[in-house]
C-alpha cells in the first residue's frame, strides 16, 4: 500500500538546516499494523505527516496505492487524503464548537455524502465506539478516553484504508489507553491498515512490526509475533 524510497526532508531556519528524514525507505503492506518508535527529534512526526500527505518531502518517492504522490498539489493531496486516510492525534483535536455527532459528521460533509446517509453512518460508528449516548455533548463535557473515542470515530467514519495515529494514548490513563489500543486492533482486524507513532513499548506490542528511527533513518525493524 505504501512504499517510500530515499525520502528526504529538511527544515531550514535562517541559519541552520536540520535533516529530519535522511534517505528513508519503508514499505507498508495493506492490512499491516505498524508502530514507529524512536527518541524525540528522530523524525517520527515528520514521517507521519508525509505519509498523511499533510506535508511533502523534499526528495525521494512516495507511492500510495500505486500512485506517486510526492509532488502532488495541495488540492490533489487533500482529495486523496479525505477519501483514504483517517487521523488520530494525541491531543484528540476535536472542534470545541461542534457536538460529538457534528465532529464525526465533518469528514462526510467534506467528501460530499448526502445528509440522510451521513446521519446513518455517523450513528453506526458512534454505536460501534459506544459513545452514542454522548452524541449531543460538546468535547469539553467528555473524559479524555471518550474524546479519543470520538476522534477515532471521526477517523474511521469515512471508511479509510489507512489510519495514521500520532501517540493516540499519550494523553490517556492506562485503562483508557488500553481501550483505545483494543479499538485500533479491532479496526486493523477488519482490514484497515494502521501506522502509529508511539513512545510506549506497551502500545507498540499491539502492532505487527516496529520501525525504530534514529536521526531520520530506519535503524531496526522488529517483527512482532
Amino acid at each position: 500500500m505504501i512504499k517510500i524510497t530515499n525520502l528526504e526532508k529538511f527544515y531550514r531556519t535562517e541559519e541552520v538546516e536540520t535533516i529530519a528524514l535522511n534517505k528513508l525507505s519503508i514499505e507498508v503492506k495493506t492490512g499491516e499494523f505498524v508502530a514507529i518508535m524512536g527518541p524525540s527529534g528522530c523524525g517520527k512526526s515528520t514521517l507521519l505527516n508525509i505519509l498523511g500527505m499533510l506535508d511533502d518531502p523534499d526528495e525521494g518517492s512516495y507511492v500510495f496505492n500505486g500512485i506517486e504522490v510526492a509532488h502532488f498539489t495541495e488540492r490533489k493531496r487533500a482529495d486523496l487524503r479525505k477519501h483514504n486516510i483517517g487521523f488520530v492525534f494525541q491531543s484528540f483535536n476535536l472542534i470545541d464548537e461542534l457536538t460529538v455527532f457534528e465532529n464525526v459528521e465533518l469528514p462526510l460533509i467534506y467528501t460530499g455524502v448526502p445528509s440522510a446517509e451521513r446521519v446513518k453512518r455517523v450513528e453506526e460508528v458512534l454505536d460501534k465506539m459506544q459513545i452514542m449516548h454522548r452524541r449531543n455533548h460538546y468535547p469539553q463535557q467528555l473524559s479524555g478516553g471518550q474524546q479519543q473515542r470520538v476522534a477515532i470515530a471521526r477517523a474511521v467514519v469515512n471508511k479509510p484504508k489507512l489510519i495514521l495515529a500520532d501517540e493516540p494514548t499519550g494523553n490517556l490513563d492506562s485503562s483508557n489507553g488500553n481501550d483505545v489500543m483494543e479499538l485500533l486492533t479491532d479496526l486493523n482486524e477488519q482490514g484497515t491498515t494502521i501506522i502509529m507513532v508511539t513512545h510506549s513499548e506497551h502500545d507498540a506490542r499491539y502492532s505487527h512490526r516496529i520501525i525504530r528511527l534514529l536521526d531520520g533513518q530506519s535503524v531496526v525493524e522488529n517483527i512482532m509475533v
Binding site: 506535508d55 482529495d79 487521523f87 483535536n93 464548537e97 467528501t111
Partner: protein, 809 residues
C-alpha cells in the same frame, strides 16, 4: 456545508461573548455614525430633485467684470426670460422670480410680518413641480394682484385650503386675491416661499432694460442636453439685445467693453447644482457648500474604515484560537477555499448583525442628529428603497473586507504546525495588525487636530475685533414701516435713559442689505479704474453708535450742511483708489445709464473709516463708501445693558405709541452675527461628536487587542514575575508595544493634519494660525487615551498570579 459554517460561526461567537460584543458594538457604532452622515450627504445632494423636470431646468446667471470689480449674479435682466423663449425653439419655457422681501399681511386686526414673499411669472407651475391643491396652475398667476399660497399659509390665514377668490391685505392698503393653493414647498428646495404674487402686479417686470439684473430667471429645455446649445448661443444673444443699450449708455460696443478687460456675460447653472455649487449675489435663499459634503463624506469614510479595521484586528487576534480548528478541518479534507468561505460567512454574519443594530440606532438617533446638523431629515419607505440595497451592499463589502484578512490568513495555516501548537502564540508577528492599529490612530489623531483647529477658528470668529462693536446693540428691524415717523421714533429712542446712541439705516454689518454703485475718481470716467464699492446710506450717528473708528478725517455731522455731498470711504477703498491723502478728493457716482460727468453726482471725501467686516470672514474686506441719507430700514440702538428689560419695554412702548397695529420686530446684533456663522458652528459640533465616536471605536479595538495580547503572553508574564519582574515593569512592557504604534501614528498624522487643516483655513480671509500646542495637545490626548485603554488590561495581566498562568499551559 453552509449550515455547518453558520453553526460553527454562531457557536464561536457565542462562546467568545466579550469579543463578539466588542466586535459587533464597534462595527455598529461605526456603521450608525456612517449612516447618519450618509443621510446628511444624501439630503444635501438631493436638493431640487423633487422637480420632475429637474434635469431640464437651468438658471441663467450673469457675470460682470468692471475694472477690478468682479461680481457674479444669480439674477438677470427683466426682459431676458421672454427673449430666450422667443429666440430659441428648444427653450420650452422660462420663468422669472423676484424676491418680494418682507411684507405685512393682515390677519384679523393684526399685521403679521411675512418674509417669504416672491413675485413669479405664470409659467412657474410649468417649470417647477409645485402641485396645486386648489386653483388652476395655468392661470393662477396671470392676473395682476393675485397670490398663490402654500397649504400651511392658507391654513394660517383662513383655517382652510379652500380659499380661492378670498382677499389678503398686504401692507395695510394693498389687496391681493388668492388664486391658488399649492402644497408646501419641499424641504429640499433652494427657494422657500409662502406667497407667490403674480409678476404682472409689478410694473417693473415689464421693463426692457438690458443693463441691470434683478430677476432670478430659470429656463426649461425641451431636452436634457439643450443647455449646452444655449450656453454656446448666449454671447451672441446678449450682444443682440444689450449691445444697443450699451452703446447708448457707455458709448462703447460689447467688443470694446471686453477689450478693456471688463466683461458682461451670461451662463447657466443646472437646477440641481444650485444648492451646493452656487453662491452668487442675489440667490433666493442661503445655499449649502460642497465643501461640507466632502468633509462629512470623508468623516463617514474614516469612521467606517476605523470600524472595519477594528473588526479585522479583533478577528485576526482571535485567529490563533481558531488555528486548531483550521488544522483539524484541513486534515479532514477541507480545501482552502472552504475555509475562506467559512470565515467570510462568519464575518458577513457579524456585519449583518451589526448593520441591523446600526440601522435601528441611526433611526433612533435621527432626531438628535437633526438638531445637531440643523437638518430635518426623515427616514420613510422612500428612503428604504435605496437604503436597504445599499445596506446589503455594505454588509457584503464590509463583511468581506473585514473578513478577508482572517479568511486568507487563517486558511493558509499549515495544519501540522497548527496542530503541534506552533502557531498558537503569534501575536507579535503580525505586521499587518500593527499597520492597521497605526492607521486607526493616525485617522483618530487627524480628527483630533481637525476638531481643535475648527474650534479655534470658530473661537477666533467669535472674538475677532471686527472693526465695530456688536455687543449691546439692539436692532429694531422694521422701522421702515413707520414711514415718515421713523425719524420721530429715532429721536424719542435717543432720549431714553439707558440708550447710549442710535442710528437709523438698513445697512448694517450683520444684515443682508447690500447696495453697490459705480464711482470714478476723476472726470475721465475711465472704465478700467471704476470703483464698484458697497454703497451704504447711513446717518450722522452711524460711526459712533456702531463704535467704528475713523482712520483720518471725520464722521458725518448734522451741523455741516455740505455733508449731503460728503462721502466716507473705508481703508480698502482708499487703497484701491491709490489715494495717499484722500481727504477732500472728489468721487463721481454714476447715476446709471449714460456714464459721463453730466450723468453723475460729485462727492468729496470727508473721512476714511477703519476697515470693518461686513460680510463673511471668509472674504477679504472689499471697498465700501458711506453716504449721508435718510434710510429708515432699521434702527440700531446702543443700549446700556444694566437695565436692558426696562430699556426694551420703553422702546416697545414708544413703538406702540407710534403704530399700534404693527408688531415691533427686533433682534440683537451679536445674535445676528452668530446666526451668520451657524453653518460653521454646526460643522464644528458635528466634527467634535464624530471625532469622539471615531476615537471611541478605535479604543474599543485597542482594548480588545490589549486584552488579547495580555492573554497570549500569560505564560511569559508568569515566568517574568517568577524571575522577579515588578508589576510596573510588566504593565510598562505590555503598554509599550502599543504605545510604539500610537507614536508612529502621531508622527504620520500630525503633519498630514497640519497640512489639510491649513488648506481648510485658506477658505477664510481672516483666520488663526495652527498653533504648535494644537499638535502637541492632539498627540498627548491620543497617548493619554491609548494609555488608559491599554493600561487597564496591562495592569490586570501584571497583577495575575503567576502560578495560575503557568499551570494553564
Amino acid at each position: 456545508m453552509i449550515k455547518n459554517y453558520i453553526k460553527t460561526a454562531y457557536r464561536t461567537l457565542l462562546k467568545n461573548k466579550g469579543f463578539t460584543v466588542l466586535n459587533v458594538l464597534g462595527l455598529s457604532l461605526g456603521l450608525a455614525s456612517c449612516l447618519l452622515i450618509i443621510f446628511y450627504v444624501v439630503d444635501e445632494l438631493s436638493y431640487d430633485r423633487y422637480n420632475t423636470k429637474a434635469d431640464r431646468i437651468s438658471r441663467v446667471n450673469e457675470d460682470l467684470k468692471l475694472g477690478e470689480n468682479n461680481v457674479l449674479y444669480a439674477v438677470c435682466m427683466p426682459p431676458l426670460a421672454q427673449a430666450l423663449k422667443n429666440d430659441f425653439p428648444y427653450v420650452e419655457d422660462a420663468v422669472r422670480l423676484k424676491n418680494g422681501g418682507s411684507r405685512h399681511v393682515k390677519k384679523g386686526g393684526v399685521n403679521i410680518l411675512e418674509n417669504k414673499t416672491v413675485f413669479a411669472d405664470p409659467s412657474l407651475f410649468n417649470v417647477f413641480t409645485l402641485p396645486m391643491i386648489n386653483g388652476s396652475p395655468a392661470t393662477a398667476l396671470t392676473e395682476p394682484n393675485s397670490v398663490v399660497l402654500t397649504e400651511t399659509t392658507a391654513k394660517k390665514y383662513f383655517n382652510s385650503t379652500n380659499v380661492i377668490g378670498k382677499t389678503l391685505t398686504f401692507d395695510d392698503n394693498i389687496f391681493y386675491k388668492v388664486s391658488g393653493v399649492i402644497r408646501d414647498i419641499p424641504r429640499q428646495s433652494h427657494f422657500d416661499f409662502d406667497f407667490f404674487i403674480s409678476m404682472s402686479t409689478l410694473p417693473d417686470s415689464r421693463s426692457t432694460e438690458w443693463l441691470r439684473s434683478d430677476y432670478n430667471t430659470y429656463v426649461l429645455f425641451k431636452n436634457a442636453g439643450d443647455h449646452k446649445k444655449l450656453e454656446a448661443a448666449l454671447p451672441a444673444f446678449l450682444n443682440k439685445y444689450s449691445g444697443e443699450q450699451m452703446q447708448a449708455q457707455l458709448k462703447m460696443s460689447m467688443a470694446a467693453f471686453e477689450k478693456g478687460g471688463s466683461f458682461f456675460r451670461l451662463n447657466l447653472t443646472p437646477l440641481t447644482d444650485i444648492h451646493l455649487k452656487s453662491n452668487r449675489t442675489g440667490e433666493l435663499g442661503p445655499n449649502g457648500t460642497t465643501q461640507y459634503v466632502y468633509i462629512f463624506s470623508a468623516i463617514a469614510l474614516f469612521i467606517l474604515l476605523i470600524a472595519c479595521v477594528n473588526f479585522m484586528n479583533l478577528s485576526t487576534a482571535r485567529s490563533a484560537n481558531r488555528a486548531r480548528e483550521v488544522g483539524v478541518r484541513k486534515v479532514l479534507g477541507s480545501l482552502r477555499k472552504h475555509l475562506i468561505a467559512q470565515f467570510l460567512i462568519e464575518s458577513i454574519l457579524v456585519a449583518f448583525a451589526a448593520t441591523v443594530i446600526a440601522l435601528t440606532a441611526a433611526i433612533a438617533l435621527l432626531p438628535a442628529f437633526n438638531q445637531l446638523s440643523g437638518k430635518d431629515i426623515i427616514v420613510n419607505s422612500q428612503t428604504m428603497v435605496w437604503l436597504i440595497p445599499a445596506l446589503l451592499l455594505i454588509v457584503l463589502v464590509v463583511g468581506a473586507l473585514a473578513g478577508s484578512y482572517p479568511a486568507f490568513y487563517l486558511s493558509a495555516f499549515q495544519p501540522i504546525a497548527v496542530l503541534k501548537g506552533k502557531l498558537s502564540a503569534g501575536f507579535k508577528g503580525s505586521g499587518l495588525r500593527s499597520f492597521l492599529v497605526v492607521l486607526q490612530f493616525s485617522i483618530s489623531i487627524f480628527l483630533i487636530v481637525g476638531t481643535l483647529v475648527i474650534y479655534n477658528q470658530l473661537n477666533y470668529i467669535q472674538t475677532k475685533n471686527l472693526g465695530y462693536n456688536r455687543n449691546e446693540v439692539l436692532i429694531v428691524q422694521n422701522t421702515f414701516e413707520l414711514g415718515n415717523r421713523a425719524n420721530v421714533f429715532k429721536k424719542e429712542i435717543k432720549q431714553l435713559p439707558g440708550v447710549v446712541n442710535a442710528t437709523m439705516t438698513g445697512f448694517l454689518p450683520t444684515s443682508n442689505w447690500k447696495n453697490t454703485a459705480i464711482f470714478f475718481k476723476d472726470a475721465a470716467f475711465d472704465q478700467k479704474k471704476a470703483l464698484f464699492p458697497q454703497t451704504w446710506e447711513v446717518d450722522e450717528d452711524y460711526i459712533k453708535t456702531l463704535d467704528m473708528k475713523m482712520a483720518v478725517g471725520r464722521s458725518f455731522s448734522s451741523q455741516m450742511l455740505t455733508d449731503s455731498s460728503g462721502i466716507i470711504i473705508n481703508e480698502s477703498a482708499a487703497k484701491f483708489l491709490g489715494l495717499k491723502d484722500p481727504l477732500n478728493k472728489p468721487l463721481y457716482r454714476s447715476n446709471g445709464g449714460k456714464q459721463d460727468i453730466s450723468n453723475s453726482k460729485e462727492y468729496h471725501i470727508i473721512g476714511v473709516v477703519k476697515d470693518f467686516n461686513f460680510s463673511s470672514l471668509r472674504d477679504v474686506i472689499s471697498p465700501m463708501v458711506l453716504v449721508l441719507a435718510n434710510n429708515p430700514g432699521a434702527l440700531s440702538v446702543r443700549v446700556n445693558t444694566k437695565n436692558l428689560p426696562v430699556v426694551l419695554s420703553q422702546i416697545k412702548d414708544k413703538w406702540k405709541g407710534l403704530t399700534p397695529n404693527i408688531q415691533i420686530d427686533f433682534s440683537f446684533m451679536d445674535q445676528d452675527f452668530d446666526a451668520s456663522y451657524r453653518a460653521e458652528q454646526r460643522v464644528g459640533t458635528i466634527f467634535i461628536v464624530f471625532t469622539a465616536l471615531a476615537i471611541i471605536i478605535a479604543c474599543l479595538g485597542l482594548f480588545g487587542l490589549a486584552a488579547y495580547a495580555a492573554e497570549q503572553r500569560t505564560k511569559e508574564i508568569g515566568i517574568r514575575k517568577i524571575l522577579g519582574a515588578s508589576i510596573a515593569a510588566i504593565a510598562g512592557m505590555l503598554s509599550f508595544d502599543f504605545l510604539k504604534l500610537v507614536l508612529i501614528a502621531i508622527l504620520i498624522s500630525l503633519p498630514v493634519g497640519w497640512f489639510l487643516m491649513n488648506k481648510w483655513l485658506q477658505e477664510f480671509a481672516y483666520r488663526v494660525n495652527i498653533q504648535w500646542w494644537v499638535l502637541v495637545l492632539a498627540g498627548f490626548t491620543s497617548i493619554f487615551i491609548a494609555l488608559i485603554t491599554i493600561g487597564f488590561q496591562s495592569i490586570k495581566a501584571a497583577l495575575s498570579n503567576p502560578v495560575n498562568s503557568l499551570r494553564s499551559e
